[in-house]
């Protein structure tokens, strides 16, 4: 079917143009990916490789009374069996691996349970054998004696009086004070601005509602995998699929109590992560097995393991009370957000609470956050962790307020929009941000005024993600043919080899294709933090910029030396090095590169940065849904994603991020959930029944890239990976309300829920 569009499907509202930045070269890793030659962790092979398998708890909550591994060890072909005791440590020191402080015991117990199994799928023991089948068979021979305990799988149940307690030693931190109360609530905190009671007193209209979001998984297609070789020289080498090779290295150093210098981590190509490939699961088990056997040990999760034992993002309960005056001014807003941490403390509630009211310039606001442990796998990051849970609540409440005030929902948001100088309820004051520009682009887009059909409804919503900076390193080396080698430590998940190489190319004035980027192991580059927090194009891009500046300076100096003039008298522009005064003295980058060997040797540049000028990103959606009134089936018929990205280095990959985040949000809104049974196990741990959207369930997602440059980055980059997953769930809820007349307060808004809510 060909469609004639009366509008531009993918718009870039650019404010500044460059030679390389903002163009769309073919990605450097494209050929390997499309031919299937890229090497992923599951492809790893080496001589004498052993295969590992994991025994997992069949119970959601149980005390482990004993583990008998003798029959497994006796099976021919089995090389070793390990349990938590093989860590040989009972330290409960507090460590921070970039995802917040946590106890070493909890980290260790999540890898291999010691005293308690806290979710179905919790790893209990690992086996290494000569082939995967024998390893699996041996797992079946391990005898574990459990004392089964009642499970608790939602925050509401976990916070209730008399709830089963996961950790006897977990005491609630209440508003900054450590209490003596043992409960499943690890922490309660509050952000506060102004005085909400005064604000509500001024309001003409107040909306107050409760909302619930279900636990969902990132759904990356490549399962977790790891191969470890504990070599005879005492050095450990790990090959795995990870968003942060250095994070794996540092986690292994803590868990195995060894210096970081003894560990080398090689990141293999990654088949999706979305935040879920930051923690270690298999890596330490493979390492312990390798230490015992002296051979490399490879482990790969099954799909069920991925769902049941790797970190999803939180289910949540929230309450929002919002008040406004009849002219559309929001006078106060109160938010409570309780998020599942999974089996160990550390839910995304902190980030969710930061983002909850970020889009609004509100005089009086409070946000209360609760971090609650439940019998589900420990949550991991997932694209703007916590923020979609908050937005599902707040953006629906704002929508309802607009309806009660009889105001256009975009106009209401524009009237209260946060901007430069707005102090957020959680404290920080905004630098230059692009929410107003994003909302204006939404209002002015042809989608917003297009006619709408029968049984259809249109919804809007916005979302904010703060983005992060952190450490990154890049090395550049000039080849004699004028191309440049770029090495970096950031896992490339969404096309960042290209976006980082392009920033170096822009500085050097050479084509993007002349820069050859590689992601290298932890022995081959300076410290680089995870690919996460939408930081890679921002921070590693900045390192590329700095390293390129160094190369540029050296190229200028070299030309000056060759010409025997002062370096101050030489300039480099668009890949041409020339004298500022003598038009005869001019060389291209390539010409000079060819002379490096004969004029003093090669040139390389290196930079390690930790940039602070992070720029947050706002995203918005306009969504049209159509609902079959008899079956409750929802089709997303039109979807336009807007986002202030600062500067799109490679617009195609930015569009890919916006579309990908939108699709994941659509899945969360309509069908995805951890469907838990009475025993606390996940019933739908298959891709068949987990019901992520397929390509046939989606319209083409139009994108509008808004560029309000981040003053804190040389090219204005903000970071684009996350904000886009925040608005879809509430935007779809708001659209469903328009289509059916009924508002839904819980995800998934699936056909069962839609027909039940609409009565009859």
């Amino acid at each position: 079917m060909t469609q004639t569009l009366d509008y531009e499907p993918n718009m870039v509202l650019a404010t500044k143009t460059y030679d390389v930045v903002g163009t769309r070269p073919v990605r450097h890793d494209g050929a390997d990916k499309v031919t299937g030659r890229a090497l992923y962790g599951a492809d790893f092979a080496t001589a004498g490789l052993l295969h590992g398998s994991i025994l997992r708890s069949p119970h959601a909550h149980a005390r482990i009374k004993s583990i008998d591994t003798s029959a497994a060890k006796a099976l021919p072909g089995v090389a070793a069996v390990v349990t938590s005791a093989d860590f040989g440590s009972d330290s409960d020191a507090v460590v921070d691996l970039g995802e917040g402080a946590t106890s070493l015991k909890w980290l260790r117990d999540n890898v291999l349970a010691s005293d308690k199994a806290l979710y179905r799928g919790h790893a209990i023991a690992g086996v290494a054998a000569s082939n995967p089948h024998t390893a699996e068979e041996a797992v079946g021979l391990i005898e574990v004696e459990y004392e089964v305990l009642p499970p608790v799988v939602t925050v509401e149940d976990a916070m209730a009086d008399g709830a089963p307690i996961l950790h006897d030693d977990l005491k609630t931190e209440e508003l900054g004070e450590q209490t003596d109360t043992v409960s499943n609530v690890a922490q309660h905190f509050q952000h506060k601005k102004g005085d909400v009671s005064k604000g509500f007193a001024k309001a003409d209209v107040i909306v107050e509602r409760e909302y619930r979001a279900k636990t969902v998984h990132q759904g990356y297609i490549e399962p977790h995998n790891a191969t470890a070789l504990w070599n005879n020289d005492g050095r450990l080498h790990v090959w795995c699929s990870t968003q942060g090779a250095f994070t794996v290295r540092d986690a292994m150093a803590q868990l195995l109590d060894m210096p970081v210098s003894k560990i080398r981590v090689t990141p293999m190509e990654i088949g999706g992560g979305f935040g879920g490939k930051i923690p270690v699961y298999l890596e330490p088990v493979a390492a312990l097995l390798s230490r015992k056997t002296g051979s490399a040990v490879k482990m790969v999760m099954s799909r069920a393991d991925v769902f049941e034992a790797s970190g999803p993002t939180c289910g949540s309960w929230s309450r929002v009370k919002i008040g406004g005056t009849s002219d559309g001014t929001i006078t106060a807003c109160e938010v409570e957000l309780a998020c599942e941490a999974g089996a160990y403390p550390g839910s995304p509630v902190g980030a969710g609470a930061m983002c909850a009211l970020a889009a609004y310039d509100i005089e009086n606001g409070t946000v209360d956050g609760y971090d609650v442990v439940v019998n589900k796998p420990k949550t991991a990051a997932y694209r703007a962790p916590g923020a979609p849970n908050a937005a599902f609540a707040v953006e629906q409440a704002v929508d309802e307020l607009a309806q009660k005030l009889d105001m256009d929902p975009i106009e209401l948001r524009l009237k209260n929009a946060a901007k430069e100088g707005t102090r957020r309820v959680d404290g920080p004051t905004f630098n230059r941000v692009g929410l107003v520009e994003t909302l204006e682009a939404m209002r002015d887009h042809p989608h917003y005024s297009a006619p709408i059909g029968e049984n259809q409804g249109r919804g809007v919503a916005v979302g904010f993600w703060f983005n992060i900076g952190f450490d990154s390193s890049v090395n550049l080396a000039v080849n004699a043919d004028g191309t440049v080698i770029l090495t970096e430590g950031s896992t490339d998940i969404g096309g960042t080899r290209a976006s980082i190489a392009m920033q170096a190319a822009e500085v050097l004035g050479i084509p993007a294709e002349d820069v050859h980027p590689s992601v290298v192991d932890t022995d081959s580059i300076g410290f680089t933090a995870v690919t996460g927090g939408s930081r890679t194009t921002f921070a590693t891009g900045w390192a590329a910029y700095e390293a390129a500046q160094s190369v540029k300076k050296q190229m200028i100096e070299r030309a000056a030396a060759i010409w025997d003039v002062d370096a101050d008298a030489v300039d480099m522009n668009r890949g041409v090095i020339s004298s500022k005064s003598d038009p005869e003295l001019s060389m291209t980058f390539k010409e000079l590169a060819a002379q490096l060997g004969s004029s003093g040797g090669g040139i390389s540049g290196t930079a390690s940065v930790s940039p602070t000028g992070v720029g947050g990103s706002f995203a918005g959606n306009i969504v049209d849904v159509e609902v079959d009134p008899e079956t409750g089936k929802t089709d997303v018929v039109r979807f336009t994603a807007f986002q202030d990205v600062g500067k799109a280095i490679h617009p195609s990959y930015v569009e890919g991020q916006m579309q990908g985040g939108s699709v994941q949000g659509i899945g969360w809104a309509l069908n995805e959930e951890y469907y838990m049974n009475e025993a606390g196990g996940m019933d739908n741990s298959t891709l068949l029944d987990y019901r992520m959207p397929t390509s046939l369930d989606l319209p083409m997602i139009d994108t509008v890239i808004v560029e309000v440059a981040n003053p804190g980055h040389p090219f204005g980059v903000r970071g684009v990976g996350e904000a886009n997953i925040i608005p879809p769930t509430p935007a779809i809820a708001n659209a469903l309300q328009r289509a059916t007349g009924t508002r839904l307060f819980e995800t998934p808004m699936n056909p069962v829920a839609i027909t039940a809510a609409n009565g009859d």
Binding site: G77, H133, E137, T631, K633, D683, P693, T694, P751, A756
Partner: protein, 289 residues
Amino acid sequence: MKWIDYESPHSVREAVDLLNEAGDRARPLAGGTDLLVQLRAKAYDLDLVVDAKNIPELNELTYDPDNGLTIGAAVACYRIYGNSSVRSVYPGIVDAASLIGGTQIQGRASLGGNLCNAAPSADSVPPMIAYNGVARISGPNGSREVALEDFCTGVRQTVLERGEILVSLHFPTPEANSGANYIRFIPRNEMDIAVAGAGVSVVLDNGSIASARVTLASVAPTPLFVAEAGEAIAGKPATEETARIASAIARDAARPITDMRGTIEYRKRLCEVLTRRALMTAIERAKEN
């Protein structure tokens, strides 16, 4: 490590002997799109699989107006919907054959396998019952025929006895002025298991329903043939009003469970909607015949 033997007999006799000898330690293998998945999931513990794809009778696909349609038990879906006679005479079977799995699955999956797997959600069984289908079975004691509505006896249970194999599915030529349809509901548009399904057929006589058959998927331990639904509308005008009568009976006959794919209430609701919609399509198709 466990080994499973594989045999590929070339006659029904040989297959029956192999199956009879091994009893419940063996199963026939058609496309394998259920069996291999189930073996991996350890749903069966077998010593032997007996490939049915090299037995001529199980690969037959023939139609003639006098004798009706014979579909060998191992014939894959793509051959069925690719056959012009089946397309024009048995559109209700094509409805199901073209929505089982995706293109790759349809290259392997058979209707015999769909039936013998005996899942309540099997998509092809309701329309095959609508077409008055009969299973032709061979075993150690010879051959027998079983009406398809009597074939499945429980979840993953059938009338097949030790050593018996399904040879083919047989369908009489539909009467003049008849039509059939199968539809299912899934929350996505692809790659999902029926939350509920309805396979129906109607024979029209001068604008009235002469006879009708209604079978539901996914709302009982077996595909559920609801004879009363068809009987109640015989003699009534072929209208939406009439379809509502049958669909209300279908809804009441359904005995679904609540699980991750849907609730009891929701599945019953779907039985009403799907039966009505399928009947209206079948009536339209009958009018075109």
